[in-house]
């Protein structure tokens, strides 16, 4: 009798144990998006800077243009054959599958926004999630009379030498006052009025 009770307990414990494992497995949900690149590798990629593409190289058939601006701006004007996926929508719905499809077709997804900086957000998030066939288009968009204008954009261009500008401005100041100091010394002499005697008529 005692023996039987012992086996009963063991079997109940075993069943419970197995049940918990099964329930755990059933409810385990793999996170939808997982990083495949860690921060160090991302940083290496950033420094390599091989993920840019110039505006004149987008006629290639192996390229899929993706506009990451808002749908409103996309409606206003966009590059030919571009697909609109705004940055906040990148991970929603079927969008990640779209990127997978592009990769499966051995095409390259080119991200662009109104500036390369805008596209960078999308690029870095996607790259860290393992989408490696993406690039940033070096373009800056502007509108003129509701027409979209594309310009080549150079990132991180050093426009001016600020030190030189400051030195120049100080130089200017030093040179300028000298001649100006001399000018006020000029004294315009007063000329005395000479009253001519009024000659009368006849």
């Amino acid at each position: 009798m005692k023996e039987l009770e012992k086996t009963k307990r063991i079997s109940i414990a075993a069943v419970l144990f197995i049940l918990i494992i099964i329930i755990g497995l059933l409810f385990y949900e793999r996170p939808k998006h997982l990083y495949t690149v860690n921060s160090n590798d991302m940083l290496e990629k950033v420094i390599k800077a091989d993920y840019f593409i110039a505006l004149d190289k987008i006629d290639d058939p192996s390229i899929v243009l993706i506009d990451i601006r808002s749908p409103f701006e996309f409606e206003k004007g966009h590059l030919n054959e571009a697909i609109n996926i705004s940055t906040p929508e990148l991970l929603k719905g079927d969008n990640p599958e779209l990127f997978n499809k592009i990769a499966a077709n051995k095409k390259v997804a080119i991200l662009y926004g109104s500036t390369p900086t805008e596209a960078n957000n999308a690029f870095m998030v996607l790259y860290q999630l393992g989408f490696e066939n993406i690039k940033i288009l070096l373009v800056s968009l502007a509108y003129e009379q509701n027409k979209l204008i594309t310009n080549n954009s150079i990132i991180e261009k050093n426009v001016t030498d600020i030190n030189a500008f400051i030195a120049e401005s100080q130089k200017k100041v030093k040179i300028v006052p000298k001649p100006k100091k001399r000018i006020p010394k000029k004294v315009v002499p007063k000329k005395k009025k000479k009253k001519m005697p009024v000659e009368g008529g006849c």
Binding site: Y35, L43, V46, Q128, T160, I162, V173
Partner: protein, 219 residues
Amino acid sequence: MINRKLAKVLSFRYKILAIIFLVLAGGLVVLPKYEKQEGIQPEALLKNAVSSERYITTDELADLIINQDPSFILIDVREEESYKKYSLPNSINIPLDKLLSEDSNSFLNQDQFDVILFSNDHFYADQAWLICNRLDYNHIRVLKGGLNAWFNTIINPEKPSENQSVIASELYSFRKAASMYFGVAYPDEFKAKPVVKIIPKKKVIPKKKKKKMPVEGGC
């Protein structure tokens, strides 16, 4: 015979099981740390990336520097060469490739100061920000427009035309004063002082010479 052998093995069954579990547990220790999932969730990262909260304008920064606010650190993420050429006052140079090194970690991953990242534009600074944000470093901000915007707004502000609003001219006078703080000299400001001194000396008011023609009489 088989039954006997089986019984012999089965008498060790608990020991065998225990050994198997021990080996498996040991294997867990040897497993490499799964480092790829470090940092915040991708969805959260994307949400943070879209928000423009991280940007600080050049005017705000100039105000902070001039008021000698002690609560922020400036970090230049450009390469060392350009840092030596020109950088913002009191900034620290952390080139992008050293962003995750231990030395820079003490600057970036702390709660005491606001860290303001800047580069020529805000492209590199933004990339550095995204990497730091994933690692959940707080208090990191980006100078909007970087040094180019710094030059265009603070160092060399554009003078508003006369028909622009009062706000524009107030902004200009702030920026001009700020640029003088950072060492820019203006010829018109410099000239203003001597002019004030000279004016009282100049009492000579040139008068137009009146030449009265002798009036000639008629006939």
